[in-house]
């Protein structure tokens, strides 16, 4: 860096602290906006994904080929000790849960309701769906106990059952035999999605395999990644180590495309707002620097008269702008990163009507942020880009002055 130009730029910034301060404030405020917006948007999307996939099939789902399309018992997945051991050994897997999903009629006295019966491993289910947190009364299934069922609160209401009551499950086994068995209600859960709460029931995987005559088989294994950003990488690793022709690793985007679409629409909206914000910030910076340059016409005229080359003046002004932007970005980051981190640690729950509307998507909501390294980096690049473009015209304008006019008119 040429020291003369740098010194000139630095000094002129210091010479008018109010002007510099205002521009700095504008830049750092814009930076704060961009970083926080990105953080909030990351936060809400990741929360949507987390909540959505926990109740669905996890970040990743192991299924037999064609099961994703067919969703019947005809595509069994062998649930073996080696598969279990393998999943336990893979780093970055936060939890996994084998499931055996099938339909059955659940009835009590005169009421009956067709439900999706989820046979789940009592020791593993919670690692994916955090079902224990959703319990309102009673408890979740317990290892070693059999013929226990956990219903949604609304499902229990429809059937008119309470804790301790017996319900009859009637369905068709894989062997096409009729299957019926009495189960005792041991727990009730709440789901954000009313339909799910009415029609999803949990029994132990062992019971489900006995009831539906589906020994040692499951319909899927739901996997939760430590970090939703690793999902694709994890998918690749699992596909490489597990693919032996009779198993597929699907991402949640494949299993619940609706959720992906909702997020894509939301992201589109955010990018549009970010774009508008960037344009506004750009014009703000342009305006401030331009005003500063016009104010200093006389100064530049004298410099030119003293023999400073126009290209140097251009450099000086450009440097000033970039310095301003740089300092503004640093201040912006210094303020906004703690804000993002704070909201990440202390989400603000959304309640009332708004929550009601959103929860139909089976998503629980709160205002939260998520800090990703990509956020400050991208925001910095955006802001620097804006500064580089916006400072061009004022710098050009400053270097194009005619010393004689300037000095005469002054």
């Amino acid at each position: 860096m040429n020291s003369l130009e740098f010194r000139l730029a630095w000094r002129s910034l210091g010479r008018n602290p109010r002007r510099t301060g205002l521009t700095l404030a504008a830049t750092s405020f814009a930076m704060m906006l961009v970083v926080n917006m990105t953080g909030l948007s990351n936060g809400s999307h990741e929360e949507m994904v987390e909540n959505g996939v926990r109740m669905a099939s996890g970040h990743l789902s192991l299924m037999a080929p064609d099961h994703l399309e067919e969703r019947t018992l005809e595509q069994p997945l062998a649930w073996t000790q080696s598969l279990r051991t393998h999943l336990e050994s893979v780093p970055d897997i936060k939890g996994f849960a084998p499931r055996m999903d099938a339909f059955a009629l659940v009835s009590h006295e005169e009421s009956a309701q067709g439900m999706l019966i989820r046979g789940s491993d009592p020791t593993r289910e919670n690692t994916v769906s955090e079902i224990e947190d959703r319990l309102t009364t009673g408890r979740f299934l317990r290892q070693g106990e059999s013929r226990e069922i956990v219903l949604g609160q609304k499902g229990a209401q429809t059937l008119g059952v309470e804790l301790g009551d017996q319900v009859l499950l009637y369905g068709m086994a894989y062997s096409l035999e009729s299957a019926y068995e009495l189960f005792t209600v041991v727990g009730l859960v709440r789901f954000p999605d009313a339909e799910l709460e009415r029609t999803l029931a949990f029994i132990s995987l062992e019971d489900a395999q006995a009831f539906f005559v589906y020994a040692d088989r499951v319909t899927e294994v739901a996997i939760l990644a430590e970090d939703s950003y690793q999902v694709e990488d994890l998918q690749n690793r699992l596909t490489q180590t597990l693919s032996n022709g009779d198993l597929r690793v699907h991402t949640w985007q494949e299993v619940v495309p609706e959720l992906d679409q909702i997020i894509a629409i939301d992201k589109g909206g955010m990018y549009l707002i970010l774009l508008l914000l960037t344009v506004v910030v750009g014009f703000g910076i342009l305006n401030t620097i331009l005003m500063a340059v016009l104010e200093r016409k006389r100064e530049f005229g004298i410099l030119l008269a003293l023999g400073l080359k126009p290209s140097k003046i251009f450099k000086v002004v450009y440097l000033e702008s970039l310095l301003l932007a740089g300092v503004g970005i640093v201040i912006g980051l210094a303020i906004s990163i703690p804000m993002v981190l704070y909201l990440q640690a202390h989400p603000i729950p959304i309640t009332g009507n708004a929550a009601e509307g959103i929860s139909q998507l089976n998503i629980e909501v709160s205002i939260t942020s998520k800090f990703r390294a990509s956020n400050p980096i991208r925001s910095t690049l955006i802001m620097m880009g804006v500064a580089v473009v916006a400072a061009f015209y004022p710098a050009l304008k400053a270097s194009r002055g005619q010393p004689i006019d300037v000095v005469q008119n002054a």
Partner: protein
């Protein structure tokens, strides 16, 4: 293959199918209306009160051996009620189904529980077969809930080459909760017996075919003693119902159609 080409081929095949199936169709002479034909067919299948004893064979890729089911069914057409009792296999012995319009109950003796089957389960498989609960209770009446249109007469029917049949299209009334988009039935012009039925969904896709074989006279009626149901989209699946005994115009006691009888298990 380009998508465009696929569409053209599908359109060609789609439009060609009905004309292929009804290649030998000729217009029917006036005289009998479609509804009359449909009524007669219904009459030949069901008396006012009918008792049927039957054996059902279910074939499926899931099974190494066909699954055999035996049952007796009492049907009171006018009272819109019916009663079915399973006799085999052992696991289901004594299980009963009671329909008193519009409800359907099931009783399972092993757990001593009565279950009311909700309307949403009507399309579910009955006892693991390709028949549905709806087929069992005939919740929808093929004469009352459908409009009938006579498509013509076919000289020969696919599964009965030597028989001549009316081809009747059944289209459900808009307000009836019927599961089919349309049904096409081949009804013997002389014997009134239904020889074949094709069941289509709302998009005119063939879902299943019922073939009525072994037609023999019973009490002045021609009756099929072997029904073969083939679902189109489930390869390897087939359900056969063999009629072991059929009694039309039986005198069925009112007590048959009660929950008390349901809970009796096997007589």
């Amino acid at each position: 293959m380009s998508n465009y080409l696929k569409v053209v081929i599908i359109l060609l095949l789609g439009s060609a199918q009905p004309s292929l199936a009804l290649a030998s169709l000729r217009p029917a002479s006036p005289g009998m209306s479609a509804t009359q034909i449909a009524n007669r067919a219904e009459e030949s299948l069901r008396g006012d009160q009918t008792v049927i004893q039957a054996q059902m064979t279910v074939r499926s890729p899931r099974l190494t051996q066909p699954r055999m089911i035996e049952f007796t069914s009492w049907d009171d057409r006018l009272g819109k009620r019916s009663f079915t009792r399973m006799e085999a296999p052992a696991k289901d012995k004594g299980t009963g189904f009671l329909k008193v319009h519009p409800n359907l109950w099931m009783y399972i003796p092993r757990v001593e529980r009565t279950v009311r089957i909700p309307p949403s389960m009507m399309l579910q498989s009955w006892m693991g077969s390709d028949l549905t609960n709806d087929d069992l209770v005939r919740e929808s009446s093929q004469t009352d809930d459908y409009d009938h249109r006579l498509l013509g007469i076919e000289d020969t029917v696919k599964n009965h080459p030597d028989r001549e049949a009316y081809v009747v299209e059944y289209i459900p009334h808009e307000d009836t909760p019927v599961v089919w988009g349309k049904i096409i039935a081949w009804i013997d012009t002389e014997r009134d017996v239904t020889l074949r039925q094709e069941f289509y969904d709302e998009d005119d896709v063939l879902i299943r075919t019922m073939q009525y074989q072994e037609i023999q006279p019973v009490e002045k009626r021609w009756v099929s003693h072997l029904w073969i149901l083939t679902p189109e989209q489930k390869e390897g699946h087939e359900t056969q119902v063999r009629i072991k005994r059929i009694e039309f115009d039986a005198e069925i006691d009112d007590t048959v159609f009660t929950k008390r009888n349901l809970k009796k298990g096997l007589r």
